[in-house]
Symmetry: C2
Subunit: 369 residues, 2 copies
């Protein structure tokens, strides 16, 4: 295996051989994607939502757990889960996607969790608006960012760390940013951040810190590893890079027909087929979804179904008359700000935001049972 | 990539290069394992139990769904979910493990779902004892096997098929074999077989057919693909092979300390460490678990905690005084029938039942935060 080490040491580098290593497989066995047929559900059932966990899933004792709010605040808070549950709550349906979704389709392939296309899910998150807690604590004039610390910890880029991310104050104060203690009407599952997690609608998942135990108001930009080194777009190791934030547009279809077990190649019976999928963008509402049956040579508009929530994916469908032969089905989303999915993968060193159009080869022929 | 095709065509063959293919990665992204830190839970939380799904997850309308019981019976049954729920129910805590667990640790590696160690989970399954339904239908004298068909279908070994497995009558009539409609006190999740699945305690997971829609009593051994070709132990393609049935003994530990993100290498702080894990066998009760800190050169007995259920894994723990240095922790289970985990992987063409001892390299040193 040809792995090129990253001179800054913060990523294991890229692989030019095309083959997946055992280290990547270990990550893939832990961090599971959403099987694409689960795009059929408005709200992703428990256990099918994607998961990306840097370290181990903490086992948290809810009785002794507290959320501490401190730093540049008028008064510090230390809140139990019951304290949080007794406050006014809100529920939002939110689509979360991993910033590394599509990484394993890049060449050379950046070494990290080797996502293909499935690192997405939509849940109904219930909790306390972050803004309400910030108002209760009272934000000092000098505060510029809010730092969120999770209880998950381990070694990354050579040093032991807790998982931490920050938001600038204006983002943290958005109406829809939640401290969530329920997912789909049930207490958070351990792997989704029990007892409390941040949910930042519209952003890639790395900012929605799980197993939250401390919120700190600070007077300068946070320089922790997951903010200033990881989750940045760069072409070469020496660059500072652009930080990741909101999700680029993406559409995915339920692969039609039936799969072959080992290869996942699809076979579709001839006749009318409704191709269904979902599309989302954190940058603006979804404006258009197009579908191609010839690998992107020609495109037709799919029908957008009514929007269920600004922060959740939007359903679409497209009527296809499947005639015997071989096809490559593609779908492509455009958002209201004019962002459109590319036909070619946009490469970067960390393998982030590869939102190239999905391609689903299918054979249309009669099934033999 | 060096892939050797299987002359019988029922498996894609084996890989001698050591590197994982994109086709295997597609399977790994769908079929997720249980992160080993979840061994901490007696009952695996929703979403952390392993999943192995041959085709797509069916979306089943419970209102129109029926379970049909037919073939060599006195009277055919066609039962709704409410019909089943109105019958006397039983709950069993059951450990299920995929027969392919450990496959990706074999060399050469059989091409299929590339499990490392995590294809296991324990749930509380609630449902109707299969025996009660068989008695209600009345089994004819000539019946020798019971065939279970799931609603999941697709192409495998070149032909379109529904997932089907059989049990000989005596196994099907065991007290603890369930038609389960609840998992951990909730309706089955789509990916675990909603609305109904078979649960056969003690056996590898392939026999616990999900999305069950038909049970047939037959007068000769079932010859379907998943019974007579797949899930068999062979050394070479031409062999008929031995069918898989009950789980071989296995023990797994919660990897102690904290992981490095990309490599999952463990670092443990010096001092007393309680190493904890679980052990199970479908062949007999767990009789002994041993732990080694030197890669299997020397072994100590772990303490077995009280058995919670005959069909669920058994907790164990072992006190370790961790001194600075590097170690390879191993654990090994022995069952009451004298079966013991091997130190070397037992190779076979399908990559089944590799229950070699788990090896966890750890470095004991002070963490730097």
């Amino acid at each position: 295996m040809a792995v090129e080490p990253d001179a800054r040491g913060e990523l294991p580098g890229v692989d030019t051989s095309g083959a997946i290593s055992t280290a990547e497989l270990q990550l893939a066995a832990r961090n599971h994607g959403m099987p694409l047929e689960a795009l059929a559900y408005d709200i992703t059932p428990a256990g099918l939502h994607y998961l990306l966990i840097h370290f181990d899933i903490p086992v948290v004792d809810a009785a002794s757990w507290r959320l501490d709010v401190g730093g540049l605040v008028g008064r510090e808070l230390s809140l139990s889960l019951d304290d949080l549950r007794s406050r006014p709550s809100t529920t939002h349906a939110v689509t979360l996607e991993c910033a590394g979704n599509g990484r394993a389709r890049l060449s050379p392939r950046p070494i990290s969790q080797p996502w293909l296309l499935e690192a997405v899910g939509t849940a109904e998150w219930t909790g306390v608006p972050l803004r309400a807690l910030l108002e209760e604590a009272g934000v000092d004039d000098g505060a510029v960012e809010v730092v969120f610390r999770g209880l998950d910890h381990g070694v990354e880029a050579g040093s032991h760390q807790y998982y931490e991310r920050s938001l600038v104050l204006a983002e943290a104060q958005r109406d829809e940013v939640l401290l969530a203690y329920e997912m789909n009407g049930r207490p958070l599952l351990p792997q989704h951040g029990f007892p409390l997690r941040l949910v930042v609608p519209g952003w890639y998942g790395m900012t929605s810190v799980k197993w939250l135990d401390r919120i700190s108001l600070v007077d300068e930009p946070f320089e922790g590893y997951q903010q200033s080194h990881s989750y940045r777009l760069r072409q070469a190791p020496g660059e500072v890079g652009e930080p990741l934030s909101r999700m680029q547009p993406r559409s995915l279809m339920v692969p039609p027909g039936v799969p072959e077990f080992a290869t996942r190649k699809r076979q579709v019976e001839p006749g009318p087929v409704t191709v269904r999928g979902r599309a989302w963008s954190g940058l603006a509402e979804v404006a258009r979804v197009e579908v191609s049956a010839d690998g992107g040579a020609t495109w037709s508009d799919a029908e957008l179904l009514p929007e269920a929530s600004r922060w959740a994916w939007r359903a679409w469908e497209w009527a296809w008359e499947a005639r015997p032969g071989t096809y490559e089905l593609c779908c492509r989303a455009t958002d209201g700000a004019g962002n459109v999915q590319p036909l070619e993968a946009p490469w970067n060193l960390g393998g982030y935001i590869n939102n190239e159009v999905q391609r689903v080869p299918v054979t249309v022929s009669q099934l033999d049972v």
